[in-house]
């Protein structure tokens, strides 16, 4: 394998090349770092690059390979992490001024697991502040851009993760998904993004946004790449009591099993003109491709899906208002100078938080207030139960539910900034999955007929049945052929 082309190869291909000693981890890591150096001034996918540490880790991986002691398929592979994951000794800001300068004393569980697998972390990726946003424009450190069109957003909140993977800066990344924050940017950047079942991956060491919805997942260029990363981080963690004790299957096993015999549910509510025409066309073509591959399409109904966004914007801000209370200037992060305690709290939080966290803290505080709790928070929780029941009923008749990820292709920077409600609707198709705690993914389904921007297909699976979802996504990926690379970044 020649070095110049190696960054275009998949994680899985690179893993084989490393195994055959055709290339060293150090060489690939240096190539990735050069790529970041050359492109990130325009892209701004990274908030922080840690080259010395990465090269040292790569050399260690090469030494293990030389001794025949490779830790896993990920040993020596350059990846990067959304800046929501705590990394010991490496600043972690969660895209917020309030955590500027915060150097965690420990690694998130998923970071530990990636390290144990030998993955080489190149740095921390841009994101919407506290994962609140759908465009990466809420990053306190400036937006990340879409490698398909630098005037457009990569989506969010894991925008940096999707952009870095799409732009061949890294071979894979971890993101988090609370209402679509992995799947939507993956769709808008033309890569694969997986949000596992709630409880499949530990949240320990992941800065909390909405604890009952947050879930960690991979973003990668191919389905096997994503499956490899998911397998490395999934599984019970005693430090996260919401993590499941169910065993983790080998996601690569059976991945090439095709779509024959699968029953794919098509929810009427997701095809009622909510998406732009080009998006719906590609999604329907993907469904037709499944039929051609031997799957059956089944009409299903998700009658409560339409309440999803409203319920989400009560539950998520309510939990966020509580989760963000710890940023008070007392123990870590920013502390504004002040004479009184009240002033310290007020000034610190006023300077430290951007507009979106402030908006959600206020929304959530209101929703939990005495006299409003029943009407807002409690009712929203009831909607969650109803949404979950919709899916349970649908899964009596199908194995997967399919539809669009995002109603549009990547939108222009600034296009929705002034109208938070429009921005919130970017997640209209992805939110149900979080509310119902189900696994979902975005897999490339072609380019928009006019703009040439990528479009993702969303697949939603039964609880803890990531395997079927990944197998179906892999079948489409093979049918579509190699996904094109973005052109805007060179």
């Amino acid at each position: 394998m020649s070095l110049p082309g190696i960054l275009d190869r998949s994680l899985t291909d690179l893993s084989r090349a490393l195994e055959r000693r055709e290339v060293s981890s150090e060489e690939v890591t240096l190539a990735s770092l050069s790529r970041i150096e050359a492109t990130d001034g325009r892209l701004h996918a990274f908030l922080r690059v840690a080259p010395e540490r990465a090269v040292a880790d790569a050399r260690a991986a090469d030494a293990r390979r030389a001794r025949g002691e490779a830790r896993s398929r990920l040993d020596g592979i350059p990846i990067a992490l959304k800046d929501i994951f705590l990394t010991r000794g490496l600043e972690t800001t969660c895209g917020s001024r309030i955590l500027e300068g915060f150097v965690p004393p420990f690694d998130a569980t998923v970071v530990e697991r990636l390290a144990a697998a030998g993955a080489v972390v190149l740095g921390k990726l841009n994101m919407d502040e506290f994962a609140m946003g759908s465009s990466n424009e809420n990053s306190a450190f400036g937006p990340c851009r879409n490698p398909w069109d630098l005037e457009r957003t990569p989506g969010g909140s894991s925008g940096g993760s999707a952009a870095a993977v799409a732009a061949r800066q890294v071979f894979g990344a971890l993101g988090t998904d609370t209402g679509g924050s992995i799947r939507q940017p993956a769709s808008l950047c033309g890569v694969v993004g997986v949000k596992p079942t709630y409880g499949r991956v530990s949240r320990y060491g992941v800065v909390a946004f909405a604890s009952s919805l947050d879930q960690v997942g991979p973003i990668a260029r191919t389905v096997p790449d994503a499956a490899t990363l998911l397998g490395a981080v999934a599984g019970h963690d005693p430090r996260d009591q919401t993590s499941s004790t169910l065993p983790v299957p080998d996601y690569l096993e059976g991945l090439e099993g095709g779509a024959r015999g699968l029953r794919i549910g098509v929810p009427r509510e997701w095809f009622q003109g909510g998406s732009e025409a080009g998006v719906e066309r590609r999604v329907r073509e993907a469904l037709a491709a499944y039929e051609a591959m031997g799957a059956t399409l089944v009409d299903v109904e998700l009658p409560h899906a339409k309440y999803g966004v409203a319920a989400y914007y009560l539950v998520a801000p309510a939990e966020a208002s509580s989760n963000l209370a710890r940023y008070d200037g007392v123990r870590f992060g920013l502390r504004a100078p002040a004479r009184t305690l009240g002033e310290m709290y007020g000034e610190t939080r006023d300077r430290g938080f951007g507009a979106e966290p402030k908006r959600r803290i206020m929304l959530g505080t209101y929703a939990l207030s005495a006299g409003y709790y029943d009407a807002y928070y409690l009712r929203a929780q009831k909607v969650r139960t109803l949404v979950r029941r919709d899916f349970d009923r649908a899964f009596e008749r199908c194995d997967l539910v399919a539809g669009p990820v995002s109603p549009t292709v990547a939108f222009r920077l600034g296009e929705k900034v002034a109208d938070p409600l429009q921005m919130y609707l970017a997640d209209v198709f992805t939110i149900s999955c979080n509310l119902a705690a189900l696994p979902g993914l975005s897999v490339p389904a072609g380019l928009h007929p006019e703009s040439g921007l990528p479009i993702g297909l969303q697949l939603v699976g039964r609880p803890f049945d990531e395997a079927t979802m990944l197998r179906a996504a892999r079948a489409l990926e093979r049918e579509m052929g190699p996904a094109p690379a973005p052109g805007a970044i060179g």
């Binding site: 705590l86 208002s321 963000l324 710890r326 008070d328 007392v330």
Partner: protein, 483 residues
């Protein structure tokens, strides 16, 4: 204050004697350097999650069973949201709508009558840290988070309490139960057993409760009495003056013996409780509850009843012996060592509740029996029974055993504490006293029987306190004849 009925409900916060904190592995020991017992979890760092300590649930179940509560098979942790520097996460993980225990009661005796105070609930929660003011040279405040995350049980009573004495007896009985169960050390001063009181008054005969005030910061029974007494007087004065009680939280100031307003109902926090999403509901299987029920120790009131019934101890002695489990166990062990029996029980109880309690009181802290071993106390009783030592000797032996430990017989020998029972020695001393006190002897013989005590005292004095009182008595009676 006549014409007014006092009404009290109590909320007790009891620190649980687990080795580690409720949601992390940090130790719970008291008195360490500030912030020595902290980790990312109890510091509330970004990304951390709570992992519930199983022992906390076991202790809560044990306590609930001992107090007759209904143990809930499913209970839910909730977040209580408020900002304070000693609260690292900006919320306290507590229980709200679904606590682990509901109902129950505390039983105790008051002026010889049986009383029961109903419990509303018991729930599990984490303690906060402590703000330390003026610790730095520049006058700024510090925060010590050693206590943050120490497990607490909050035990809430119904407003069933009608007097200050009743409040104190309720707390003593509850404290004894918690200490018996080994879930709490009962230390009010160090704050491991804390109490807030909801106090109101209503006209005697009324059934409508008055507006209540919550009184905080009473870290001794004495302060609790002072605070409630002050608060009752304050409320009665307001009402008799035609005023209205404002529902509020008031802080007791031990220096002034007063309560003062901390925050009014309008200023009260809206805690925005909601179920803690980081912890699944706590499920206590029925089998678990049954196992805990079987493992319950004998509780103080049952033990006291047994001491009265089987050993013939007085209600007072039985209650004092059983108030502290260590003391009751010491008593049991000493009684076994002395061979049992009502007579021995009475003697042992007298020594424990008398001399030993006095020494413990003087010592102030430490084990209630010092270095005294149960077998040693039994040995002391045997020496008394055998006439080897008398009252003054007993005091000295016990004092040395309490401070240094050891063998009573050896101490008696080493210190020359054995009393003189030899009749000829006593007779010589008695003859000397009779010769020296012709006046008293004559009055005794004329019928003043009380003078025997004086004469016995003189003989004892002559024998430097070492005469066997029984022998001295008998010899004197014989020599003096009938009064």
């Amino acid at each position: 204050m006549s014409g007014w009925q006092l009404v009290i409900g109590l909320e007790v916060h009891a620190q649980l004697l687990t080795r580690s904190k409720i949601f992390c592995g940090c130790p719970t020991t008291f008195g360490a350097e500030p912030n020595a017992h902290v980790c990312p979890v109890c510091l509330g760092m970004p990304g951390v999650l709570p992992a519930l300590n199983r022992q906390v649930v076991e202790f809560a179940v044990r306590t609930g069973l001992a107090l007759g509560c209904a143990i809930q098979e499913k209970s839910v942790f909730a977040r209580k949201n408020y900002f304070y520097p000693d609260l690292p996460k900006g919320y306290q993980v507590s229980q709200y709508e679904l606590p682990i225990c509901q109902g129950g009661e505390v039983e105790f005796a008051l002026d010889g009558a049986e009383r029961r105070v109903r419990l509303t609930r018991i729930h599990m929660e984490e303690d906060a840290g402590k703000n330390l003011h003026g610790v730095a040279a520049d006058g700024s405040s510090g925060v010590d988070l050693n206590r943050a995350g120490v497990p607490l049980l909050e035990i809430v009573s119904e407003p069933d309490i009608r007097s200050i004495d009743e409040a104190v007896e309720y707390l003593k009985a509850l404290r004894a139960v918690l200490m018996y169960l080994g879930v709490n050390d009962g230390n009010l001063e160090e704050g491991s057993f804390r109490c807030d009181a909801n106090v109101s008054v209503m006209p005697v005969g009324s059934t409508v409760l008055g507006t209540r005030c919550e009184i905080k910061n009473m870290n001794s029974f004495r302060f609790l009495r002072q605070a409630i007494e002050y608060e009752m007087r304050r409320q009665v004065e307001i009402l008799e003056g035609g005023g209205k009680i404002v529902q509020e939280t008031r802080l007791f100031d031990p220096q002034r013996g007063e309560t003062r307003s901390m925050r009014s109902k309008e200023e009260a926090h809206d805690y925005r409780y909601f179920p803690e999403p980081d912890l699944p509901p706590v499920r206590v299987p029925a089998a678990w509850i049954e196992e805990a029920r079987r493992a319950l120790p004998e509780l103080p009131r049952a033990r006291a009843a047994r001491y009265q019934r089987d050993l013939g101890l007085s209600a007072y002695d039985a209650a004092v012996l059983t108030a502290d489990r260590r003391t009751a166990e010491f008593f049991d062990a000493a009684l076994v060592a002395r061979g049992g029996g009502a007579e021995a029980a009475k003697r042992i109880a007298n020594l424990i509740n008398g001399e030993v309690a006095r020494l413990a009181n003087e010592a102030g802290s430490g084990a209630p029996q010092g270095k005294l071993a149960p077998a040693a106390l039994a040995g002391v009783v045997r020496l008394v029974d055998e006439g080897v030592i008398g009252g003054p000797g007993v005091r000295q032996v016990i004092e040395e055993l309490f401070r240094e430990g050891g063998d009573p017989q050896a101490i008696v020998a080493a210190r020359g504490l054995a009393q003189v029972s030899d009749e000829s020695a006593v007779e010589a001393a008695a003859d000397a006293v009779i010769a020296a006190s012709p006046d008293e002897v004559a009055r005794y013989r004329a019928g003043n029987a009380k003078l025997l005590g004086f004469l016995v005292g003189q003989v004892m004095k002559g024998m430097k306190g070492k005469g066997n009182p029984a022998v001295v008595n008998a010899v004197l009676r014989r020599k003096l004849g009938s009064p």
